[in-house]
Assembly symmetry: C2
Homo-oligomer: 390 residues x 2
């Protein structure tokens, strides 16, 4: 034992921390969703090195599966070594250069995050407005483009904070391209659960997280860029402000060279591979259909309980069901009861909708009739405890 | 099937990717190291949400275990949501503000990475020189401080590219503190394997990776800052240039608020917890002793084979043994033979030492007599094939 340590007051005894025994939750919040047993099993696979020839093959396979899931032929389709916000910052931090202007939406929580990332990248930020809970209107977008002539336009395809799906994506990308701007789509809550066609819809850059409709533990996050976007990245005058997320360096690792940049999160790549295999086995279009079908039952069930959806039917987001909290009901008490009595996670509202809605996910492996029955039964009980009977 | 897709040339058929069956490697390279079966098992634990009260407890436990392993009382001790380079950039990108000067070493690969990160953070970079394969000399450091008066000084405690351990850390930190600078230590290849006493040695900020001496899959990376360093972070005039790695925002999640910032890599935190429990069970000082003992046998065995260590004994780094490639021996052919015939990973040199050395790790769960015997036997065979008999 070190006397100097004792003087410094550092406790030499190791902390006593018991075996890992987290509760067995059913995850029906905004993510993570329930992970498929095959994906959990893949995570316990012993590791190979991140430069091992066998890992290079695995990288190829993951890229191919990601392209299928994104519906793209983009060469630059990779998992970023971090959670969804890392792929988001990789997209924004590489596309936006000092002197660029980025147009971001105001209709949800994640447009605000885009703004902060673009400013930190050295960009000017301008906004296209729509109320929280509504999609962007192409007319407003056209006006914003005419006024600001932004270089980059970001929008949220599936807004996790409001439960709103942005319709008519090709209309938005057409407007942007008419003004020579590049389009970044936040697909965190849509990839693998809601129709998304990156190439066909003219999306230049799309990013996502694995722990939503892909039902994969967070840690390696999908990103795709077309050649036009990658050309801008590779032609930057100033290096991106993050070394870790510099796509011109990541290109060396994920591209033809396979040269060392950083240690990839090997196990998370294994898991993503297995999660994407499940997507391929099911078929992407059938997977979208399943989400609509199962979440449709959830929505109908919620309405039967006397609850009202936050989003109108035409913008309803199957993967994230935002439900209005009825008058007189304590949203937090319901959430706590579901967690304590049912080991069931749903979430409160975020930002401007805090206290007004619950957010009930229906994503990936959680988008099953069993989970829907369970959340409806539990919610009925919790609402009854609050004196609400629809 | 979509006709437009067919027109765009996107193959509608899902890729056929088989079951995950990576080879069963023995990992004796510079990381990842072999993962303990208990840690692999922890990774297949079903997830709870990243804001679940039970996860908050797990976060507390991981922080406590990290403090024990770093030998620190620092409140700001967290796993960063990414691999080791993410914790590195979190340290540098938050500590270095535009207008600051950072002093970095030239004696290995990772000083160059520090330079790139500090420049991207908006800092000026100056250098303190030492040849690759030698530690920093306090006399040179004193001179560099007198000349440049840097605000931040970074050094590499255990240089993975050269196999050199920086001795006399308290001398270095004293010089920096006499000049009112903050000290960042790269402990990627020392934490949990080589004596490291963050508080006692006056290190202000230390970062590491989990896949080296902690034998944990990469994805959540240790970082610790003392109050003095955190005060600088919280008093910045300009926000850090990465949103994802902004410690003032991460403080909201890992500090008392437990408010949402980003989705933590839950499974990687589970794994890190289990890996750190193994450290606590063994006892940190015994763990350092084991690394010296087992790697000492490795070093003796290598010398018995007629090989020469790259680092002199006094700077020998037990966790990363850099061995000179003998004249007339093809380093790549030996590496390939070990991988193909023995399922055994060791690595070539990096940067200035490419072709001159092999790098043989002896880290965490890989630091076992069994692995040492195996690598020595395999190497003896591979060298004989090259006509080398010591």
């Amino acid at each position: 034992m070190s006397n100097r340590h004792a003087e410094l007051g550092i406790d030499e005894r190791p902390p006593e921390v018991g075996e890992l025994t987290p509760p067995d939750r059913t995850l029906m919040g905004p993510g993570p969703s329930d992970v498929h047993p095959r994906v959990l099993r893949a995570m316990s696979t012993p590791l190979v090195g991140h430069l091992d020839p066998s890992f290079v093959e695995i990288m190829d396979e993951v890229q191919e599966l990601l392209r299928y899931t994104f519906r793209t032929d983009n060469k630059w389709t990779i998992p970023v070594s971090g959670t969804g916000s890392a792929s988001m910052e990789a997209a924004i931090g590489n596309l936006v250069e000092p002197g660029d202007t980025m147009l971001v939406p105001t209709n949800g929580y994640f447009g605000g995050r885009m703004k902060s990332m673009a400013e930190r990248a050295g960009g000017e930020v301008v906004e296209v407005s729509a109320p929280w809970g509504e999609p962007l209107d192409p007319v407003d977008l056209e006006r914003a483009f005419a006024e600001h002539q932004p270089d980059v336009f970001g929008f949220v395809h599936a807004e996790t904070s409001t439960g709103v799906l942005q319709p008519n994506v090709p209309e938005l990308t057409d407007i942007a391209h008419d003004h020579d701007a590049l389009v970044i789509a936040d697909c965190v809550t849509s990839l693998g659960g809601v129709e998304l066609r990156v190439d066909e819809w003219g999306v230049d850059v799309a990013y996502s997280g694995p722990q939503k409709c892909l039902s994969c533990p967070p840690g390696a996050s999908p990103l795709t860029l077309n050649d036009r976007a990658m050309d801008k990245v590779l032609d930057r005058e100033e290096r991106p402000r993050s070394w870790y997320l510099d796509l011109s360096l990541l290109e060396g690792y994920w591209g033809d060279d396979r040269s060392y940049h950083h240690t990839a999160p090997i196990t998370n790549v294994y898991a993503l591979r297995e999660a994407l295999r499940l997507v391929a086995e099911e078929g992407i279009e059938e997977r979208w259909a399943r989400h609509r079908r199962v979440a449709g039952d959830l929505k109908a069930g919620l309405q039967d309980l006397g609850l009202e959806m936050n989003a109108p039917d035409e913008y309803w987001l199957p993967s994230l069901n935002a439900v209005r909290v009825p008058d007189g009901v304590d949203d937090g008490a319901v959430i706590d009861r579901l967690l304590d009595e049912y080991d069931l996670e749903i979430a409160s509202g975020l930002g401007a909708l805090e206290g007004d809605i619950w957010r009930i996910g229906c994503m990936g492996y959680s988008a099953r009739p069993k989970n829907v029955e369970y959340v409806l039964a539990a919610l009925e009980d919790a609402l009854a405890r609050q004196g609400f009977d629809g």
